[in-house]
Subunit: 147 residues, 3 copies
């Protein structure tokens, strides 16, 4: 385990509107506001897009991500962390549980999930840490380095 210490900076309350795509709209907002590292919570509706639901084989590198489509309006509960990539752009890694009619899909919203009706989000900026995500050759993913 690695760690670095920071502190809370600005706090933003967000309203996502029907059709807004996660993580894109939050990454764009972070870039505009100059947020480098942050914590995101998201609740509301998600009505389309895709979710990464784990690697096809658990012991294979690089992993082959399984993708499932989001069919119909789901209730979402999401947690994410923003950190800059190797080019300094804020990237949001967000995992979410999506529920509809008693069935739940949990995974990563990396490939875009579309807001249904409304999303409510909070961003906590975390200052004073050099955390970022750098390419990892073995997995092909950007993995966090805490700085």
């Amino acid at each position: 385990m690695k760690a670095s210490e920071g502190k809370i900076g600005r706090v933003f309350v967000l309203r996502l509107e029907d059709g807004d795509v996660v993580p894109d709209c939050i990454e764009k907002f972070a870039a505009e506001k100059g947020i480098k590292v942050g914590h995101v919570i998201l609740i509301g509706g998600i009505g389309g897009g895709q979710v990464v639901v784990g690697p096809r084989q658990s012991d294979e590198m690089p992993p082959d991500p399984m993708l499932l489509s989001i069919e119909g309006a789901h209730e979402v509960e999401g947690l994410g962390i923003i950190a800059p990539d190797k080019d300094g752009k804020p990237k949001l890694h967000i995992h979410a549980s999506l529920g509809r009619a008693g069935k739940t899909l949990t995974g990563c919203l990396r490939y875009g999930a579309r807001t249904w009706l409304v999303g409510e989000a909070i961003i906590y900026e975390i200052t004073g840490t050099k955390a970022r995500r750098l390419p990892d050759p073995a997995s092909g993913f950007d993995l966090m380095e805490t700085g």
Copy 2:
């Protein structure tokens, strides 16, 4: 997307007791303490009540919320946002995943969920934002305006 900026105010650590109803008991606490806007996390047990698990038809306005009963003691992980309604009363919009025996129900605890044995919660007050939820005629829901 709309946004407003605030800052963290008071932080409260809560113990919910067997039978305490969410979101009611947290809304009552927020009203007593004068918390207008806040972020809530909840973990513990939920043993009864109902969950909104999406709209019956994803493309129909106003939506007809589907409700499922919570049968048996579940492990809960919940995320919520408090904001005042049109009358200034703090309303908690909380989404949660409820797990029991390998099955997960994810949705909105709007119609009341009953604590089983224990709940642990944290409220982060967010000051300096005029976020509130106002009636939206098309959906019939109160939707966040960030102020």
Copy 3:
């Protein structure tokens, strides 16, 4: 419901590495840093270990926790609260949703869950509260007292 007021102290950004066990590695870190009370968020991969998925009988005291094994790499979204036990050691109570291939397991990571590839976590220290978890004879669990 019981409550106590605190404030945010230090903030830590953590990278968990393949094989790191939750909650153990976070409890060890909290002990090293002198974190007594805190809030934890966790996203990333979990590839083994066990999850408590509720009591076998919902109306029996003490409860008999049901355990399920985590088979294969899952996408995790977890929320936890750190508080000292009766001996003053920081204990992390963490609930999580674990998703793989469209199936979600939600429960408590008390008996150890093993990081797959990477975990990203944030710890918010909460100072000024005497919250702790003390043995409850009826349930056999350590339940939060807010101080």
